[in-house]
Symmetry: C2
Subunit: 339 residues, 2 copies
DNA sequence: TTGTAAGCGTTATCAC
DNA sequence: GTGATAACGCTTACAA
């Protein structure tokens, strides 16, 4: 029992036959070239008549261009389920690609099986380039993409091995330093941090920024180290901090989701925010305005990250040699009510 | 200044030349056919030697199969940014497709421009089938897909016009009825609902289920009608309900996000949950366990919806005539602490 | 078991 | 302006 072939569809050949012209002429009206008004009319009539739809595979084979760009999400589980940013990044990338008449196709890499299949897909000509959102560095597919020499761009810190691939990201160290400094400037004396995902660049960098801001005031016992950027981790981290230092009066949470969890833990401990404790987050995601009080946080321009990465790929596709290999986007501090 | 063609890559022809055999033999080792051990060895050596990577466009053109299935997300803005389910549905679909060695490519339809481009993409042979997650019915692309006669499946209620396309969903009416009944059975007398997205089937159906459960007890003034399935709407809806009926002691929220918002509004009004007011949600999303107290809710099997939809497409691809056109998955009630 | 050759649907290069 | 014709890289009868 073999798989049935899809029904046969009308081709350029059929149009040509129906319109009484040659395939070349048909192709010319399809792609825009010199063709007489009458021929054009006849062909256009024939096109709708036979119900023609172009075959992308054939066109790609001939043109060596698919007009498609992949959006590769590594670690999609944590990305899609915990991180509210990935959706915005996707949408930003799609908008930019759409404007340039490119189709964004997003691929999910969750298993070893996926890694291999996606690698084949990327290398097979179905896409002209790739945007990679890498939650964690050192994913096997990163090497694959570098080896493929396909026009690509990373969102987030680029893994060490592929400095040939441009990226766009944010200054995690600087942003963390700024918001911590601002928190300190509001008069807080005992400031702690709920640090998350220290196995990722972003997590590590935010901790570094925190240390930088505090300088000699920095107290390692006021850092709670939690695994993920999620709400539950925030609750646990805050409880830990309260236990270690009841006099704590300021907290930098490594993400808004964590900050939201921290708010919950503070509420259960009977502390008022921002009265007793000032809390700041990171991301300016939907969490930030869902909380009570709303979070003061670092705005992460997710949409812009996506569209910038798309531009990076499009420029390479246009033959431009992308010069500076990394770009950091601005992350304004949004000061709301939680600190 | 025309776009540069990508560098030339090794082809089957090159392998054949390097191994001193014909293209046919090379193809045979690539696809698994009779070939002598020595020829096989020589060819495999040549493959790695010349750095061969197969050209999918050519293969698809010949085979009329891309081994790819599209995952089309309509209204991605609300879907990706507000709805925690879409990620899980995607992951479920991807896992199922991956097992069948198909590549899931997800496409986002956000603008009219997108609609047209995606329609071209779907019809052009880049994918063998499509899974459509339609937040709202009557999206223009739905007709396109129906007309395309490409193997497809919907997640969620199928729009009226395309009863030719199978779907998988949940029984929103029944689920809403069940959880409302259970809430009533816990002794609540004045039960209200925060109804959302009444322009969608899901929203309407959940309201219907609520009415059904209450029967003659149903009081239209205890329904707050909000636009979206999000936290903010929950806060507003609950405030409205409290204003209209201070004696309210039970609330069915149309989604977990809404329930979370309702909890916030109840807290600010000084009502205890579940003491003064019992609250139930819908979805069993990440919200449900982030709340304090954790939500009693209807479990929506998002991952399974995705994988079922994938199966629906795969079965059509295998030539099977998909018989019953709609399947509803179970939605067990998860009873936690909020009621 | 292997080679040959045709053809998938398109676009592009030529003559006319 | 338009019509032949040759690719693009691959698979697959059919011969050998």
């Amino acid at each position: 029992m073999s798989r049935p072939k899809p029904q046969k569809r009308a081709t350029v050949h059929d149009i040509a036959a129906a319109a009484g012209v040659s395939r070349g002429t048909v192709s010319r009206v399809l792609n825009g070239g010199y063709v007489s008004a009458e021929a054009r009319a006849a062909i256009e009539a024939a096109i709708t008549d036979v119900g023609y739809v172009p075959n992308n595979a054939a066109r790609t084979l001939k043109m060596r261009r698919s007009q498609a760009v992949a959006f590769v999400a590594l670690e999609p589980h944590s990305l899609f389920l915990d991180d509210p940013n990935i959706g915005a990044i996707m949408l930003g990338a799609n908008a930019a690609l759409s404007l340039a008449d490119h189709q964004m196709v997003s691929l999910v890499v969750e298993s070893a099986r996926d890694t291999e299949r996606v690698a084949r897909y990327l290398s097979g000509g179905f896409v002209d380039g790739a945007i990679v959102v890498s939650a964690r560095t050192r994913d096997p597919i990163i090497k694959v993409i570098a080896d493929l020499r396909i026009p690509a761009a990373f969102v987030g810190h680029p893994p060490e091995l592929s400095d040939s691939i441009p990226f766009v990201g944010i200054d995690n160290v600087g942003s963390a330093r700024s918001i911590t400094a601002r928190l300190a400037a509001s008069g807080r004396r005992r400031i702690g941090m709920i640090a998350a995902a220290l196995d990722r660049d972003s997590g590590l960098d935010r901790l570094t920024g925190f240390k930088n801001a505090l300088g000699t005031e920095f107290d390692p016992s006021l850092v709670a180290d939690v695994p993920h950027y999620d709400y539950g981790s925030g609750v646990k981290g805050m409880r830990l901090l309260l236990e270690r230092e009841p006099a704590i009066d300021g907290v930098f949470a490594a993400s808004d989701a964590i900050a939201a969890g921290a708010l919950e833990a503070l509420r259960e401990a009977g502390r008022s925010v921002p009265g007793d404790v000032g809390v700041v987050g990171f991301d300016d995601s939907t969490w930030a305005v869902r909380c009570q009080p709303q979070l003061s946080t670092v705005h992460q321009p997710a949409k812009e990250l996506g569209s910038f990465a798309a531009q990076l790929v499009l420029r390479q596709l246009a033959g431009e040699q992308v010069e500076h290999h990394g770009e950091l986007l601005d992350t304004p501090i949004i000061w709301r009510d939680s600190a």
